[in-house]
C-alpha cells in the first residue's frame, strides 16, 4: 500500500492587502512533499507575495499558512527559525550579499542555523557549489558573477541547509533559454533526487511545463485554476488558458 505524501505547504483562506489594494483574496491551495507547484499569473497578482507569506517575511491579514506541521501565522521568533530551516528561498535577483564572497554567502546560514564545525561547513559548501556548477567560483564576489551564475549562486545558498521545501521567485527571469533550462534542470534534479517540494513563481510557461506537477494561476487575487498542466490548459478561465497556451 503506498503512503500518502504529507502536505508541504497549505494556504487556508489567505487574504493580504496593501493599503486599499487587495493582493490575495481568500486564497486556498496545497502542495505535497516531493511535488512541484508553479504559480503563474500576470504581473502584480500576488505571486511573490505568496512566497513571502510562506517564508513569513510578511503576515497575512487573515487566514492560515501551514508549512509542514506549523501554521507560520502568529509564530514567534523561535518558531519561525525552526520553520525557516525547512525552507530555501531563491530570490528573483538572487539577493546575494554584495559585501561577502560566494563562499561566505553560503557559510552565513550554515554558521547561524546549524551547529556544524568549520570543516563540515567547508565540505557542505564545496559540495553544493559543485552541484550547481560553481565549484571554482567560491572566492568571487557577487558583482563578478554573470546573471546565470548569480541565479546558480542564489540557488546554492537556498539549498545549503538541505531544505524540505524550496521557494523560487522567477528562477529563469532575465536568462537566455539555455541557461533557463539549466536552472530548471537543477530544480528538477532537486525534486527527484531529494524529494524536495518546489514552489516556483514564473512567467516561463516552457519551464513550468518541464518542472511542474501542478500549476496554480493567480488572477486578481484569486486562484482561478489549479491542477496539472493539461487540466489548466483546458480551463474555463480565459486568463489561465491563455497563460498556458499562448
Amino acid at each position: 500500500m503506498s503512503e500518502t505524501p504529507s502536505i508541504a505547504v497549505e494556504f487556508k483562506r489567505v487574504m493580504k492587502s496593501f493599503g486599499a489594494k487587495r493582493v490575495l483574496n481568500d486564497v486556498s491551495f496545497h502542495i505535497e512533499q516531493g511535488r512541484a507547484l508553479c504559480l503563474l499569473g500576470r504581473s502584480g497578482t500576488g505571486k511573490s507575495v505568496t512566497l513571502k507569506l510562506i517564508m513569513a517575511l510578511m503576515r497575512p491579514d487573515s487566514g492560515e499558512v501551514w508549512v509542514d506541521q506549523d501554521n507560520v501565522v502568529g509564530l514567534g521568533e523561535h518558531g519561525l527559525t525552526h520553520v525557516r530551516k525547512k525552507l530555501g528561498y531563491l530570490f528573483q535577483d538572487a539577493a546575494l550579499f554584495d559585501s561577502l564572497t560566494l563562499y561566505e554567502n553560503l557559510a552565513l546560514p550554515l554558521s547561524r542555523l546549524t551547529k556544524k564545525s568549520n570543516d563540515e561547513i567547508d565540505d557542505v559548501i564545496r559540495r553544493v557549489l559543485t552541484d550547481v556548477g560553481l565549484g571554482a567560483d567560491g572566492t568571487k564576489y557577487p558583482s563578478a558573477l554573470s546573471g546565470g551564475m548569480r541565479k546558480r549562486a542564489g540557488l546554492a545558498r537556498a539549498l545549503v541547509l538541505e531544505p524540505k521545501i524550496l521557494l523560487a521567485d522567477e528562477p529563469s527571469s532575465g536568462l537566455d533559454r539555455i541557461t533557463a533550462a539549466e536552472i530548471d534542470e537543477l530544480l528538477l534534479r532537486r525534486k527527484l533526487e531529494h524529494g524536495t517540494a518546489l514552489i516556483i513563481v514564473t512567467h516561463d510557461v516552457h519551464g513550468a511545463r518541464r518542472v511542474a506537477d501542478q500549476i496554480a494561476v493567480l488572477d486578481k487575487g484569486n486562484v482561478v485554476a489549479f491542477g496539472p498542466v493539461d487540466q489548466v490548459s483546458q480551463s474555463e478561465n480565459d486568463v489561465a488558458r491563455r497563460l498556458i497556451t499562448e
Binding site: 513571502k52 517564508m55 517575511l57 525557516r84 525552507l87 546575494l96 552565513l108 546560514p109
Partner: protein
C-alpha cells in the same frame, strides 16, 4: 502647516528608530564580526580624509590667525589659539561633518540598495534579525570611531599649524607644544571629544534610517544617500549648539 506635521512625523520615526538601536545594543546576540567590519569601514577608511583635512585646516588657520595677531604683537599665542580652537570646536565639528559626508552617504546608499535588491529579505529569511545585523553595528561603529577620528583630526591640525608656524617664525617644536597646551584644560579636551560620540550616533541612526526604511527601489538609493548627508549634517550642527550649552553647564570653567 502640513510640512510641520511631516516634520513631527519624521522626528517621531527617527526617534523610535534610534530607541530601537539603543535597546538592541544591549540585547544578545551581539554581532561582533559585523561591528569589526564596520569599524574598519568607518574608522580605517576615513582616517586619510580626516587627517589630511585636519592638517590642511590647521595650516590655513595658523596662516589666518598669524596675519591678524601680528598686528597686536600677539604671535606668541598662536599655538594656544590653534589648540583651543581645534580641540574645543573645529576638530569635533569638522570631523563630524566629514564623517557625515563620507560614511553617512555610504550607509544610506548601501542599506537602501540592500532593501531594493531584497538582500534584507534574504537576511530575514535566514532568521537573522536584519536590524541587529545591519543597523546596530553601523551605528556603534560611528559612535566608537568618531571620537578617535576627532583626536586624529585635532593632532593633524596641530601638526599643520606647527609646520605653518615653523616656516614663518622657525619656532621650536617643544616651545610650540608648551604654548599650545598652556591654556588647554582636560575639560576643554575630553568633553568636546566625547561629544562626537553623539555626532556618531546621529550619523549612524539617521543614515541607517533613510537606507533601511526606503521602499522606492533603485530611486530610493540616491535619495537615501543624499538625505543621509543633508539631515545628519544639519542635526550635527544643531546638536553641537545644545551639547556646548550642556558642557558649559557641567564644566563652567571651560566657558572661556
Amino acid at each position: 502647516m502640513r510640512w510641520l506635521g511631516r516634520l513631527f512625523e519624521f522626528v517621531g520615526k527617527v526617534g523610535l528608530f534610534s530607541l530601537q538601536v539603543l535597546v538592541d545594543c544591549l540585547r544578545p546576540p551581539f554581532e561582533f564580526t559585523q561591528l569589526s567590519r564596520q569599524l574598519a569601514e568607518v574608522g580605517n577608511r576615513s582616517l586619510a580624509l580626516i587627517t589630511v583635512s585636519g592638517f590642511a585646516l590647521g595650516a590655513v588657520m595658523t596662516l589666518h590667525t598669524r596675519s591678524t595677531l601680528v598686528m597686536f604683537g600677539a604671535t606668541a599665542v598662536i599655538p594656544a589659539v590653534q589648540s583651543v580652537g581645534f580641540f574645543v570646536e573645529i576638530g569635533p565639528l569638522v570631523a563630524g561633518l566629514l564623517l557625515a559626508g563620507r560614511v553617512g552617504s555610504g550607509i544610506g546608499a548601501v542599506l537602501a540598495n540592500m532593501r531594493a535588491s531584497e538582500q534584507i529579505d534574504a537576511i530575514e529569511s535566514l532568521s537573522i534579525d536584519s536590524f541587529k545585523f545591519l543597523v546596530v553595528p553601523r551605528v556603534l561603529a560611528c559612535v566608537i570611531a568618531l571620537p578617535f577620528l576627532t583626536l586624529c583630526m585635532d593632532f593633524a591640525g596641530l601638526l599643520g599649524g606647527f609646520l605653518s608656524e615653523e616656516l614663518s617664525s622657525h619656532i621650536a617644536p617643544a616651545l610650540y607644544l608648551n604654548r599650545a597646551f598652556d591654556y588647554l584644560q582636560w575639560a576643554n579636551f575630553i568633553a568636546p571629544t566625547l561629544k562626537t560620540a553623539v555626532f556618531g550616533f546621529i550619523i549612524g541612526c539617521v543614515s541607517s534610517y533613510f537606507g533601511y526604511t526606503t521602499d522606492k527601489g533603485a530611486k530610493g538609493v540616491g535619495e537615501a544617500a543624499t538625505n543621509s548627508v543633508v539631515v545628519s549634517s544639519l542635526l550635527i550642527i544643531v546638536a553641537d549648539v545644545l551639547l556646548i550649552k550642556c558642557i558649559f553647564f557641567l564644566f563652567p570653567d571651560t566657558a572661556i
